[in-house]
């Protein structure tokens, strides 16, 4: 019975891993890139200058701007700049009839001169961030699909652990240059050695959308009134309604200092002002996510905007909210400094590699059985095409996204949308290429092309902007230089991979065939 159980789990691991592997590879790779989304945005919008962070000044600038532009808005939201994201983001929601949600408008301001930042329009790193959980699908379908994929990932991880008989014995085992054996060793290595991260990232992604995908307990416990649940858990959403009497909003920097005092020197990340022109204006100050590991959803200090009266301070977190917040915080990694952020990135790449090697092994094992016939059965050919397109194709798409950013004219109005289109067009073309070319050729050509695109990024940067490596390294602009250098290193890695792929085409099949014949002759 024990044998049967392990075999069943192995079967489940293999099939769940295959069917969702292509999607999960894309989610993991774009998610991993998201850990550096601010740095990617910085490279993609080199016009935005970084400044020393001065919260009081930024807040004053934001308040002035919003007072001029949207004094009668329903809501203002101000996101203060931090060391990684230098933009001062102001958002405002138009006031509409009660019950209707007004449009959101936003602008990025330069905190030193209070002007709107003139930078090329681009989604920047936000594109990868949003894609990895929304999958470019209409709301909320993308989130449902990505969360379901996360559940399958969880299943694949657990079945993988159950299936891996010698998980402790083979803990340090990695035998390169042994064909399929090496791929499996590699899959096990990046899987087992980085397992705490994989389990954390997978379960936390379920927790992040749990109110959407598992609403049953909310509805059962609150008699269908989900709003009551959210008001309890997120007290910031509980605001006094507008009285209809105009009032003058106090200068926000003063309230800011009071909020910080509540948190013993913690940082304010975001400020939301409801009904700013009303006498019942409420100012909600949210703590910066980077302050702690455990994300505190309820952490808000609320003031009356006109009198400055402290309305509420959020309580200590209970254990369940600590656990949920812990998962959220660990997934986002807002608290991570530069070194830890790189470690997150490496762990994410390991997860991506785990999925990728799994897909390669799935096909490789079955290809061996059909090695004698020149024609691959349709199902295997389908898997081969999807493997190529979802892995090397995605890499080409990412590089193309960066190329589009530098090549599209800066003043072109729809350039942001076109950068995204370029990503998907490149991905689609690589799928087509994978269909038309034979397996190994497609791999070599796509990996080689991706290598070329990535390695040329620093050169492209030098030719199209004044922020090339020579400048960024001297100035200490590590985000800009780091991006160029990482692209260079990635390109070099892909070039090596392409070269290895090409070499493999020749030796193996011939070496294996003469031996069986020889043995047969000896037996006779």
């Amino acid at each position: 019975m024990k044998e049967g159980f392990r075999q069943a789990m192995a079967w489940l691991h293999t099939w769940a891993g295959l069917v969702f592997g292509w999607l999960l590879f894309a989610i993991f790779l774009t998610g991993t890139l998201s850990y550096f989304k601010d740095e990617i945005s910085h490279w993609m919008q080199p016009e935005v200058q970084a400044h020393a962070v001065d919260d009081a000044r930024s807040l004053g600038v934001a308040q002035n701007y919003l007072q001029h532009v949207a004094p009668d808005a329903a809501r203002w939201i101000i996101t203060l700049p931090n060391s990684r994201d230098p933009g001062l983001l102001v958002m405002w929601q138009d006031k509409l009839d009660p019950g209707k949600r007004g449009n959101f408008n936003q602008k990025t301001l330069d905190p030193t001169n209070a002007q709107a930042v003139e930078a090329r329009d681009s989604m920047g790193g936000e594109f990868f961030y949003r894609f990895h959980f929304q999958l470019q699908m209409p709301h909320p379908w993308g989130r449902w699909l990505s969360t379901f994929a996360a559940m399958v990932m969880f299943l694949a991880l657990i079945t993988g652990i159950i299936t891996h008989k010698k998980i402790f014995k083979d803990f340090f085992t990695f035998r390169p240059r042994k064909g399929q054996r090496s791929w499996l060793d590699g899959h096990n290595a990046v899987g087992v050695l980085v397992l705490p991260f994989h389990l954390m990232i997978t379960y936390s992604s379920l927790v992040i959308f749990m109110t959407m995908v598992m609403p049953a307990p909310i509805l059962a416990s609150y008699g269908g009134d989900a709003r009551a649940f959210f008001n309890e858990v997120f007290p910031a959403s509980n605001n006094a309604p507008a009285q209809g009497v105009p009032g003058k909003l106090l200068p926000l920097p003063a309230l800011y200092e009071q909020a910080r005092a509540q948190w013993a020197g913690g940082h304010v990340g975001r400020i939301a002002v409801n009904n700013p022109s009303d006498v019942n204006a409420s100012v909600n100050m949210f703590r910066a996510g980077s302050d702690k590991v455990v994300h505190d959803f309820g952490s808000v200090v609320q003031f009356n905007g006109t009198t400055g009266e402290l309305l509420q301070v959020s309580d200590e977190q209970s254990l369940p909210t600590l656990v949920a917040g812990g998962f959220f915080g660990l997934h986002m990694g807002h608290f991570a400094g530069p070194v830890l952020r790189w470690l997150y990135f490496i762990c994410g790449l390991a997860g991506t590699a785990m999925i990728g090697t799994g897909l390669v092994i799935w096909l490789g094992k079955r290809q061996l059985k059909h090695a004698k016939t020149a024609v691959m059965p349709f199902e295997l050919r389908l898997v081969e095409v999807l493997n190529i397109a979802s892995m090397s194709g995605l890499l080409i798409a990412i590089a193309a996204f960066f190329w589009a950013n530098r090549l599209l004219p800066v003043s072109f109005a729809e350039r942001s949308g076109w950068e995204v289109q370029t990503f998907f067009i490149a991905w689609g073309l690589s799928l087509l290429h994978a269909v038309l070319r034979r397996g190994r050729q497609a791999w070599v050509e796509q990996l080689g092309f991706a290598a070329l695109l990535f390695m040329a990024v620093p050169l492209l940067n030098a030719l199209t902007t004044s922020q090339h490596l020579g400048v960024s390294l001297v100035r200490g602009d590590w985000a800009m230089a780091g991006f160029d250098l990482t692209c260079l290193a990635s390109g070099a890695f892909l070039a090596w991979a392409a070269w290895k792929m090409q070499r493999r085409t020749v030796p193996q099949p011939k070496a294996q065939r003469p031996r069986p014949l020889h043995l047969k002759q000896e037996a006779n």
């Binding site: 340090f172 705490p196 608290f335 470690l343 490496i346």
Partner: protein, 108 residues
């Protein structure tokens, strides 16, 4: 985090040497039961004690996260080095242990 990294890497190397297969590959001999026990004890001890520098520098929450990250990355580094540069892998562990007191002193 550097001290924690050095300790974790050395700890994993010790645990690796405690297995027959890898001890044979790296030191070309079979480990005696006493040596195996000693290596295992030293290995686990190093991994556990590595929590201390991370937590004392950055608090429990951040410290534990850093320790976990360093644990995973040091294991990955060791396993990737072993088949290609086994001697370098061992030397790094030795150097790491020697440098640890210096790193500890620098962190104080």
């Amino acid at each position: 985090m550097l001290l924690a990294l050095l300790m974790c890497y050395a700890g994993f190397t010790a645990l690796c040497l405690a297995t027959d297969r890898h001890h044979g590959e790296l030191l070309h001999s079979k480990p005696s039961p006493r040596r195996r026990q000693g290596l295992r004890l030293a290995g686990w001890a190093l991994l556990a004690i590595a929590i201390w520098p991370a937590v004392s520098a950055d608090g429990w929450a951040l410290g534990l996260v850093e320790w976990c990250a360093v644990l995973m990355l040091s294991a990955l580094l060791l396993v990737l080095l072993l088949p290609y540069r086994p001697r370098l892998a061992l030397i790094l562990a030795g150097v790491g242990l020697l440098v640890s007191p210096v790193a500890a002193f620098a962190a104080l």
